[in-house]
Protein backbone atom coordinates (compact mmCIF):
# COMPACT_ATOMS: atom_id res chain seq x y z
CA UNK A 1 0.00 0.00 0.00
CA UNK A 2 1.38 3.34 -1.16
CA UNK A 3 0.96 6.54 0.83
CA UNK A 4 0.76 8.69 -2.31
CA UNK A 5 -1.98 6.51 -3.78
CA UNK A 6 -3.84 6.53 -0.45
CA UNK A 7 -3.74 10.35 -0.38
CA UNK A 8 -5.30 10.38 -3.86
CA UNK A 9 -8.00 7.93 -2.77
CA UNK A 10 -8.61 10.02 0.35
CA UNK A 11 -8.96 13.16 -1.79
CA UNK A 12 -11.46 11.42 -4.06
CA UNK A 13 -13.87 11.21 -1.08
CA UNK A 14 -14.24 15.01 -1.22
CA UNK A 15 -16.29 16.74 -3.90
CA UNK A 16 -15.22 20.37 -3.78
CA UNK A 17 -11.84 20.53 -2.06
CA UNK A 18 -8.99 20.74 -4.57
CA UNK A 19 -6.81 17.60 -4.71
CA UNK A 20 -3.69 19.76 -4.21
CA UNK A 21 -4.85 20.53 -0.65
CA UNK A 22 -4.28 16.93 0.41
CA UNK A 23 -0.92 15.86 1.81
CA UNK A 24 0.10 13.36 4.49
CA UNK A 25 -0.01 16.11 7.12
CA UNK A 26 -3.38 17.60 6.12
CA UNK A 27 -5.61 17.87 9.19
CA UNK A 28 -8.66 16.88 7.23
CA UNK A 29 -11.25 17.74 9.88
CA UNK A 30 -10.34 21.40 9.43
CA UNK A 31 -11.42 21.33 5.79
CA UNK A 32 -14.67 23.22 5.08
CA UNK A 33 -16.13 20.21 3.38
CA UNK A 34 -15.59 17.85 6.32
CA UNK A 35 -18.83 16.31 7.65
CA UNK A 36 -20.49 12.99 8.43
CA UNK A 37 -20.93 12.35 4.71
CA UNK A 38 -17.19 12.48 4.06
CA UNK A 39 -16.68 10.16 7.05
CA UNK A 40 -18.96 7.64 5.37
CA UNK A 41 -17.20 8.11 2.05
CA UNK A 42 -13.82 7.39 3.69
CA UNK A 43 -15.16 4.31 5.50
CA UNK A 44 -16.53 3.04 2.19
CA UNK A 45 -13.27 3.81 0.35
CA UNK A 46 -11.12 1.97 2.96
CA UNK A 47 -13.45 -1.02 2.80
CA UNK A 48 -13.57 -1.19 -0.98
CA UNK A 49 -10.06 -0.18 -2.08
CA UNK A 50 -8.12 -1.61 0.86
CA UNK A 51 -10.49 -4.33 2.14
CA UNK A 52 -10.15 -2.87 5.62
CA UNK A 53 -12.98 -1.97 7.98
CA UNK A 54 -12.46 1.29 9.86
CA UNK A 55 -15.04 2.83 12.15
CA UNK A 56 -16.38 6.37 12.32
CA UNK A 57 -14.84 6.69 15.78
CA UNK A 58 -11.39 5.70 14.48
CA UNK A 59 -11.56 8.32 11.76
CA UNK A 60 -12.63 10.97 14.24
CA UNK A 61 -9.68 10.04 16.46
CA UNK A 62 -7.25 10.50 13.56
CA UNK A 63 -5.88 13.99 12.96
CA UNK A 64 -3.99 13.71 9.67
CA UNK A 65 -4.23 11.60 6.52
CA UNK A 66 -0.99 9.95 7.65
CA UNK A 67 -2.81 8.84 10.84
CA UNK A 68 -5.56 7.16 8.81
CA UNK A 69 -2.92 5.56 6.59
CA UNK A 70 -1.12 4.22 9.69
CA UNK A 71 -4.40 2.93 11.08
CA UNK A 72 -4.98 1.01 7.87
CA UNK A 73 -1.49 -0.50 7.80
CA UNK A 74 -1.84 -1.74 11.39
CA UNK A 75 -5.17 -3.32 10.46
CA UNK A 76 -4.01 -4.97 7.25
Amino acid sequence: MELSQFIQDFASCFEDTDASEFTATTTFKDLDEWDSLTTLAIIGMCNKKYATKVTGAEIRESATIQDVYNLLTTKQ
Partner: protein, 248 residues
Protein backbone atom coordinates in the same frame (compact mmCIF):
# COMPACT_ATOMS: atom_id res chain seq x y z
CA UNK B 1 -57.34 -14.50 32.94
CA UNK B 2 -58.77 -12.44 30.06
CA UNK B 3 -55.99 -11.64 27.60
CA UNK B 4 -56.68 -11.13 23.88
CA UNK B 5 -52.92 -10.78 23.25
CA UNK B 6 -52.02 -14.21 24.61
CA UNK B 7 -49.83 -16.52 22.51
CA UNK B 8 -50.68 -19.58 24.61
CA UNK B 9 -50.49 -22.75 22.51
CA UNK B 10 -49.01 -21.00 19.46
CA UNK B 11 -45.72 -22.04 17.87
CA UNK B 12 -43.69 -19.13 16.52
CA UNK B 13 -40.47 -19.05 14.46
CA UNK B 14 -38.17 -16.07 15.03
CA UNK B 15 -35.21 -15.38 12.69
CA UNK B 16 -32.29 -13.24 13.83
CA UNK B 17 -33.02 -14.42 17.37
CA UNK B 18 -29.37 -14.46 18.43
CA UNK B 19 -29.32 -10.70 19.01
CA UNK B 20 -31.18 -7.44 19.51
CA UNK B 21 -34.81 -7.22 18.43
CA UNK B 22 -35.07 -10.92 17.50
CA UNK B 23 -33.86 -11.98 20.92
CA UNK B 24 -36.38 -9.70 22.64
CA UNK B 25 -39.18 -11.01 20.37
CA UNK B 26 -38.31 -14.63 21.28
CA UNK B 27 -38.11 -13.90 25.00
CA UNK B 28 -41.35 -11.88 25.12
CA UNK B 29 -43.27 -14.40 22.97
CA UNK B 30 -42.23 -17.21 25.33
CA UNK B 31 -43.43 -15.08 28.27
CA UNK B 32 -46.79 -14.73 26.49
CA UNK B 33 -47.09 -18.52 26.36
CA UNK B 34 -45.72 -19.32 22.89
CA UNK B 35 -43.47 -22.23 22.01
CA UNK B 36 -40.69 -20.59 20.03
CA UNK B 37 -38.28 -21.85 17.42
CA UNK B 38 -35.28 -19.55 17.33
CA UNK B 39 -32.72 -19.30 14.57
CA UNK B 40 -29.53 -17.35 13.83
CA UNK B 41 -25.96 -18.03 12.69
CA UNK B 42 -24.00 -17.58 15.91
CA UNK B 43 -24.34 -20.76 18.02
CA UNK B 44 -23.22 -19.20 21.28
CA UNK B 45 -25.45 -16.13 21.16
CA UNK B 46 -28.40 -18.18 19.93
CA UNK B 47 -27.98 -20.44 22.92
CA UNK B 48 -27.90 -17.38 25.23
CA UNK B 49 -31.33 -16.47 23.87
CA UNK B 50 -32.49 -20.07 24.31
CA UNK B 51 -31.45 -20.05 27.97
CA UNK B 52 -33.37 -16.79 28.52
CA UNK B 53 -36.70 -18.29 27.36
CA UNK B 54 -39.49 -18.91 29.89
CA UNK B 55 -40.57 -22.56 30.20
CA UNK B 56 -42.07 -24.10 27.04
CA UNK B 57 -41.36 -26.50 24.18
CA UNK B 58 -38.72 -24.41 22.48
CA UNK B 59 -36.23 -25.29 19.76
CA UNK B 60 -33.04 -23.67 18.47
CA UNK B 61 -31.73 -24.17 14.95
CA UNK B 62 -28.45 -22.63 13.76
CA UNK B 63 -28.63 -21.64 10.07
CA UNK B 64 -27.44 -19.05 7.58
CA UNK B 65 -30.73 -18.39 5.82
CA UNK B 66 -29.04 -16.66 2.88
CA UNK B 67 -27.76 -20.05 1.70
CA UNK B 68 -29.89 -22.69 -0.01
CA UNK B 69 -28.63 -25.45 2.32
CA UNK B 70 -29.11 -23.29 5.42
CA UNK B 71 -32.69 -22.33 4.67
CA UNK B 72 -33.58 -25.89 3.62
CA UNK B 73 -32.23 -27.46 6.79
CA UNK B 74 -34.09 -24.87 8.85
CA UNK B 75 -37.40 -25.58 7.10
CA UNK B 76 -36.95 -29.37 7.31
CA UNK B 77 -36.52 -29.20 11.07
CA UNK B 78 -39.52 -26.95 11.73
CA UNK B 79 -42.74 -28.00 13.44
CA UNK B 80 -46.05 -26.58 12.16
CA UNK B 81 -46.16 -22.85 12.84
CA UNK B 82 -48.81 -20.37 13.90
CA UNK B 83 -46.45 -17.47 13.44
CA UNK B 84 -43.21 -16.51 11.71
CA UNK B 85 -41.22 -13.40 12.57
CA UNK B 86 -38.83 -12.56 9.71
CA UNK B 87 -36.43 -10.38 11.57
CA UNK B 88 -32.81 -11.20 10.58
CA UNK B 89 -31.22 -8.26 8.81
CA UNK B 90 -28.17 -6.07 8.38
CA UNK B 91 -27.56 -2.33 8.01
CA UNK B 92 -24.41 -1.11 6.27
CA UNK B 93 -24.37 2.57 5.43
CA UNK B 94 -22.89 3.16 2.00
CA UNK B 95 -22.99 6.23 -0.22
CA UNK B 96 -24.71 5.84 -3.60
CA UNK B 97 -21.55 6.62 -5.57
CA UNK B 98 -19.75 3.72 -3.89
CA UNK B 99 -22.39 1.03 -4.42
CA UNK B 100 -21.30 -2.06 -6.35
CA UNK B 101 -23.43 -5.02 -7.42
CA UNK B 102 -21.89 -7.12 -4.66
CA UNK B 103 -23.10 -4.62 -2.01
CA UNK B 104 -26.64 -4.81 -3.36
CA UNK B 105 -26.53 -8.60 -3.18
CA UNK B 106 -25.18 -8.61 0.36
CA UNK B 107 -27.92 -6.37 1.75
CA UNK B 108 -30.78 -7.83 -0.28
CA UNK B 109 -29.77 -11.46 0.36
CA UNK B 110 -30.59 -11.25 4.06
CA UNK B 111 -32.98 -8.28 4.28
CA UNK B 112 -35.20 -9.07 1.30
CA UNK B 113 -34.55 -12.37 -0.48
CA UNK B 114 -34.25 -14.59 2.62
CA UNK B 115 -37.64 -13.57 4.11
CA UNK B 116 -39.38 -13.99 0.75
CA UNK B 117 -37.78 -17.39 0.09
CA UNK B 118 -38.54 -18.53 3.64
CA UNK B 119 -42.20 -17.54 3.27
CA UNK B 120 -42.44 -19.51 0.02
CA UNK B 121 -40.79 -22.57 1.58
CA UNK B 122 -43.01 -22.48 4.68
CA UNK B 123 -46.01 -22.56 2.36
CA UNK B 124 -44.79 -25.22 -0.08
CA UNK B 125 -43.66 -27.46 2.80
CA UNK B 126 -47.02 -26.97 4.54
CA UNK B 127 -45.44 -25.64 7.70
CA UNK B 128 -48.10 -22.98 8.32
CA UNK B 129 -51.30 -23.66 10.22
CA UNK B 130 -54.53 -22.01 9.13
CA UNK B 131 -54.79 -18.48 10.54
CA UNK B 132 -51.01 -18.22 10.83
CA UNK B 133 -49.53 -14.73 11.19
CA UNK B 134 -46.40 -13.64 9.31
CA UNK B 135 -44.60 -10.61 10.71
CA UNK B 136 -41.65 -8.86 9.08
CA UNK B 137 -39.24 -6.51 10.85
CA UNK B 138 -39.05 -3.76 8.27
CA UNK B 139 -38.01 -0.21 9.22
CA UNK B 140 -39.14 3.40 9.01
CA UNK B 141 -36.23 3.65 6.58
CA UNK B 142 -37.33 3.19 2.99
CA UNK B 143 -41.01 3.19 3.91
CA UNK B 144 -41.36 6.60 5.61
CA UNK B 145 -37.92 8.21 5.40
CA UNK B 146 -34.25 7.45 4.82
CA UNK B 147 -30.81 8.51 6.02
CA UNK B 148 -27.47 9.48 4.52
CA UNK B 149 -25.79 6.32 3.25
CA UNK B 150 -29.07 4.46 3.69
CA UNK B 151 -30.20 4.03 0.09
CA UNK B 152 -29.52 0.28 -0.17
CA UNK B 153 -30.94 -0.51 3.25
CA UNK B 154 -34.02 1.60 2.49
CA UNK B 155 -34.52 -0.17 -0.84
CA UNK B 156 -34.27 -3.58 0.85
CA UNK B 157 -36.91 -2.67 3.44
CA UNK B 158 -39.27 -0.89 1.01
CA UNK B 159 -39.19 -4.06 -1.12
CA UNK B 160 -40.33 -6.07 1.89
CA UNK B 161 -43.26 -3.73 2.46
CA UNK B 162 -44.29 -4.19 -1.15
CA UNK B 163 -44.06 -7.96 -0.76
CA UNK B 164 -46.24 -7.83 2.34
CA UNK B 165 -49.10 -6.19 0.47
CA UNK B 166 -49.18 -8.77 -2.32
CA UNK B 167 -48.62 -11.70 0.02
CA UNK B 168 -51.46 -10.52 2.27
CA UNK B 169 -53.79 -10.78 -0.74
CA UNK B 170 -52.49 -14.17 -1.90
CA UNK B 171 -52.84 -15.70 1.56
CA UNK B 172 -56.06 -14.08 2.77
CA UNK B 173 -58.09 -17.07 1.54
CA UNK B 174 -56.33 -19.24 4.12
CA UNK B 175 -56.77 -16.54 6.75
CA UNK B 176 -52.99 -16.18 6.90
CA UNK B 177 -52.10 -12.59 7.76
CA UNK B 178 -49.00 -10.71 6.64
CA UNK B 179 -47.86 -7.52 8.37
CA UNK B 180 -44.76 -5.57 9.29
CA UNK B 181 -43.39 -3.63 12.21
CA UNK B 182 -41.43 -0.52 11.19
CA UNK B 183 -39.10 0.59 13.97
CA UNK B 184 -37.09 3.78 14.27
CA UNK B 185 -33.70 3.60 15.96
CA UNK B 186 -33.58 0.79 18.52
CA UNK B 187 -30.59 0.34 20.81
CA UNK B 188 -29.08 -2.96 19.55
CA UNK B 189 -25.77 -4.23 18.17
CA UNK B 190 -26.74 -3.30 14.62
CA UNK B 191 -24.91 0.03 15.04
CA UNK B 192 -22.05 -1.27 17.18
CA UNK B 193 -19.84 -1.88 14.13
CA UNK B 194 -18.94 1.75 14.63
CA UNK B 195 -19.91 3.28 11.31
CA UNK B 196 -22.09 5.63 13.29
CA UNK B 197 -20.19 7.53 15.97
CA UNK B 198 -21.36 8.13 19.54
CA UNK B 199 -21.59 11.86 18.74
CA UNK B 200 -23.81 11.18 15.76
CA UNK B 201 -26.08 9.05 17.92
CA UNK B 202 -26.31 11.87 20.49
CA UNK B 203 -27.34 14.24 17.70
CA UNK B 204 -29.82 11.70 16.38
CA UNK B 205 -31.59 11.31 19.75
CA UNK B 206 -32.58 15.00 19.58
CA UNK B 207 -34.63 14.23 16.48
CA UNK B 208 -36.92 11.88 18.43
CA UNK B 209 -39.93 13.69 19.95
CA UNK B 210 -40.05 11.09 22.74
CA UNK B 211 -36.40 11.96 23.49
CA UNK B 212 -34.85 8.50 23.36
CA UNK B 213 -34.21 5.53 21.11
CA UNK B 214 -36.52 2.52 21.33
CA UNK B 215 -35.91 -0.65 23.29
CA UNK B 216 -35.98 -4.07 21.62
CA UNK B 217 -38.93 -5.12 23.86
CA UNK B 218 -40.97 -2.22 22.52
CA UNK B 219 -40.76 -3.76 19.05
CA UNK B 220 -41.49 -7.18 20.53
CA UNK B 221 -44.78 -5.95 22.05
CA UNK B 222 -45.96 -4.82 18.61
CA UNK B 223 -44.94 -8.16 17.12
CA UNK B 224 -46.95 -9.92 19.85
CA UNK B 225 -50.03 -7.92 18.90
CA UNK B 226 -49.62 -8.92 15.23
CA UNK B 227 -49.10 -12.60 16.17
CA UNK B 228 -52.07 -12.73 18.54
CA UNK B 229 -55.77 -13.18 17.93
CA UNK B 230 -56.19 -9.49 18.84
CA UNK B 231 -55.11 -8.59 15.28
CA UNK B 232 -57.15 -11.24 13.43
CA UNK B 233 -58.68 -8.61 11.11
CA UNK B 234 -55.36 -6.89 10.41
CA UNK B 235 -53.42 -7.77 7.28
CA UNK B 236 -51.08 -5.97 4.87
CA UNK B 237 -50.37 -3.25 7.39
CA UNK B 238 -47.21 -1.44 8.56
CA UNK B 239 -47.00 -0.72 12.27
CA UNK B 240 -44.73 2.26 12.88
CA UNK B 241 -42.83 2.28 16.19
CA UNK B 242 -40.60 5.32 16.18
CA UNK B 243 -41.05 7.61 19.17
CA UNK B 244 -42.63 10.17 16.85
CA UNK B 245 -39.53 10.48 14.64
CA UNK B 246 -41.37 10.56 11.31
CA UNK B 247 -43.82 13.25 12.47
CA UNK B 248 -41.20 15.96 12.15
Amino acid sequence: MYNPFSLQGKTVLVTGASSGIGRAVAVECAKMGANVVITGRNTERLNETFLALAAGEHLQIVADITTESGINSLVENLPKLDGCVNNAGIAQPLLVQQIEKQDINEVFDINTFAPIVLTQKLLSNKKLNKKASLVFTSSISGVYCSAIGGSLYSASKAAINGFIKGAALDLAGREIRVNSVNPGLIATNIFSEGTVTAEQLDEEIKRYPLRRFGKPEEVAYAVIYLLSAASEWVTGTNLKIDGGFTLL
